[in-house]
C-alpha cells in the first residue's frame, strides 16, 4: 500500500503545473560559447519577469520567463546586441520590463541624488570645520 501511494505520488502531475510543454531549448541551457553566455546572462538579470513581477527572468521559474530566456539566448547567438534586445522589449512592455534605469527626464532626480547628497555633505563639513577653527 505504501509503495502504491508512493507510485501515485510519483506519477501525479502537480495541480499548479503551468503548461504541458517542455521548456524552450535555451530556457535552462547555457550557450556553448562562455563569452556569449555572459552577455546573455547579464541581460537576463536586468529583465523583469512578467509573471513574478519582482524577479528577473534569470531567477524566475515561470514558463514565460523560460521562453524569454530562450529567446534572448537565441538572439544573442544570432549576433544581436543585448541593448538592442532590451530596447525591443521596452517598445513592447515599457520601461517597466527593464531593471536598468534609463536617462529619461523622469529619472533625472535619481541620477542627481548622489551629487546633491555629496554637496550637502560638503556644506555640513565646511560648517563644522569653520566652527572648530573658531573654537
Amino acid at each position: 500500500m505504501k509503495y502504491l501511494v508512493l507510485l501515485f505520488a510519483l506519477i501525479a502531475a502537480p495541480l499548479s503545473a503551468q503548461t504541458a510543454l517542455p521548456p524552450a531549448p535555451y530556457a535552462n541551457q547555457q550557450i556553448a560559447d562562455p563569452a556569449l553566455e555572459r552577455k546573455a546572462k547579464a541581460l537576463m538579470e536586468t529583465i523583469r519577469c512578467l509573471t513574478c513581477q519582482s524577479q528577473s527572468i534569470a531567477d524566475s521559474n515561470a514558463s514565460m520567463a523560460g521562453d524569454m530566456r530562450s529567446q534572448i539566448r537565441e538572439r544573442i547567438m544570432a549576433g544581436e546586441q543585448p541593448e538592442a534586445i532590451r530596447a525591443w522589449l521596452i517598445t513592447r512592455y515599457g520601461d517597466w520590463v527593464s531593471y536598468e534605469p534609463t536617462a529619461a527626464p523622469i529619472l533625472w532626480p535619481l541620477w542627481a541624488a548622489p551629487l546633491v547628497l555629496l554637496g550637502l555633505g560638503l556644506l555640513l563639513l565646511r560648517g563644522r570645520i569653520k566652527r572648530k577653527g573658531r573654537a
Binding site: L50, T51, M64, S70, R92, Y93
Partner: protein, 175 residues
Amino acid sequence: MRKWLIWLPLVLFLGFIALFASGLFQPDDRIIHSRLVGQPLPAFNLPAAASDRPPLASSQLAAGQPRLLNIFASWCVPCAAEAPQLEALRAAGVPIDAIAIRDARADVDAFLQRNGNPYARIGLDARSEVQIALGSSGVPETFVIDGKGRIAYQHIGEIRADDVPMILDRLRSAQ
C-alpha cells in the same frame, strides 16, 4: 534658521508616513499594458493549433473589418471561464481568431471540445514568441484589431459577461 530647522526631521517623518499611507490606500497597478496599442500588429505566421481550424498569420488580421484576437491556452483556467462570452461575441457576428500559447494540438482539441470553439483560425505559439512580440503578459488576453491590422485595444484577463458590451463598443469604434 536653527529654530525651524529642528522641525525638519519631524516634517520628513510625516512626509514618509503620508507617502506610505497613500501607497496602502491606493495599491500599485500590477497590470502591464502592451505599448503596441495603436500600432500595427507585429508580423507572424503560426502553424495550426487545432485539428479542425486553419493556421493564423498576421496578414489575415488586416482584413478590412475589425476582429478579435484572443490569446488563450488549454492549460489556463480563466480561459475556460471566458468561453461563453467569446461564444456570445461570435454569435453577435464578431470574427474571432486565436493564438494558443505553449500548447499542443491534442490539448487544444480537447479544450475546444469541452468549452466550445468560437474561433475562425487558431495559431500555435509553442514558445510564447508571438505573445512576447505582442507585448502581452499572460493568458487570457484579447486584442481588438482594426481593419488595417492595427491594435486598437488590449483587454487583459478574462472577458466577463459585463465586459461584452464594452468589447462590442471597442469593435465599433475600431471600424
